[in-house]
């Protein structure tokens, strides 16, 4: 895809996973000039960031930036606390992989960058179907963030634009997300979803994220290109 696209600038949150890669492809397909943003928030699966950089390049983002955020200082999540094991099956209540206020923090950082770019469109891969109980993946949350953005910044307050939070995957099942991205040319072999991927990005095949993903390819009727590592 061409990176010389004209069109309005947008900030696209890009984790290196299947969902956000699809979102970037959607944003490009809609003609946005995409500024891809990843956050290094102390997560253990840092290999995602290497995948994100490559995806940004392949999917035609005009640039990719990584912001460092030391959320591990708060503890309380298997994704940021090395002392906690990654769960292999859904637990009752809050998933152990929960990062506190994650989408609030990620969208705040997207808004900060958008403000310096004079961009008014933020894209996020939030999904209310397979959302595992995260409250910050629901429409009410996204609407509240949009309302916040429109009173938080000079550009909005002075009427130079209106922020919009785009969540194009919000109501799609994993299989539909995969079909959509496939149609837009996303190479899912370049994405990593596994919470405990190895340094080469190979998936464990057993954690929640791997199960959701594998089932998605099955239901989409498409081959699963995920590199799985040999069982130990």
């Amino acid at each position: 895809m061409s990176r010389d696209a004209e069109g309005r600038p947008a900030v696209v949150l890009l984790s290196g996973g299947l969902d956000s890669a699809t979102v970037l492809a959607v944003a490009r397909d809609r003609g946005y000039r995409c500024h891809a943003l990843s956050v290094r928030y102390g997560q253990r699966h840092a290999v995602e960031l290497q995948f994100a950089a490559r995806l940004a390049e392949r999917l035609g983002a005009v640039e990719h930036r990584v912001v460092g955020l030391d959320l591990a200082a708060f503890g309380g999540s298997a994704l940021t606390d090395p002392a906690l094991a990654v769960p292999e099956a859904p637990a009752d209540g809050i998933p152990l992989t929960y990062v506190p206020a994650r989408n609030t923090v990620l969208l705040s950082l997207a808004l900060a960058w958008a403000e310096t770019l004079e961009a008014f469109d933020l894209f996020i891969g939030a999904n209310a179907v397979d959302y595992s109980g995260y409250p910050d993946c629901r429409p009410a949350f996204l609407e509240a963030f949009e309302a916040l953005a429109n009173v938080a910044t000079r550009a909005a307050v002075e009427g130079r634009g209106r922020y919009r939070v785009h969540a194009p995957l919000l109501h799609l099942r994993k299989a539909d997300i995969i079909r959509l991205g496939h149609a837009l040319g996303v190479d899912y072999a370049l994405t990593v979803s596994c919470y405990q991927a190895d340094e080469a990005g190979r998936a464990c095949g057993r954690c929640d994220a791997c199960r959701f993903r594998r089932r998605g390819f099955e239901q989409a009727g498409l081959p699963d290109p995920t590199p799985y590592r040999p069982a130990s």
Copy 2:
């Protein structure tokens, strides 16, 4: 002050400046068990963080944490971009010292910590009087953030509590803030406001922040304990 205070837990944003020190004193005075949060966001006046740690201790916070955030990756502010000079007088339009979406980002991080603490009270030193044109210091912004917090987290969505954003300085002039803190025993010699304080925390006496602060002490009729460095 005692650090064994009972009472509800609160997260208090503490920069090491005059305003946030006063906010911490107010929160303690209201009986909250205060968890003080500072953010190292690539600002040049990192001496603030040393002041913040000492203030947290002196003003009776139960703990103080510093979260690292590399906002400098976005550029665009004299506070985070070493290539830009700190302005010594107010400019038209956006102040050069503007950090993009700053209070949105800071409150998001406060919310993240609050979620792990099961705290529902967030304190911030936002001020709508001497606010230098920052849109994220207005009541509409704070109300929008409060609304966001109450749909963003499990604890709120499940009805275990309602988030409140407290901005006790919102409608106070600098002189009134100083009087309030003085009455609560804040030692303002331990705070730093200057955008270009030296390593010992000594103020320049010339930047916007220094002017506002000095005038505040004058109008409050209280001695200015600020350590100023010799003019160069």
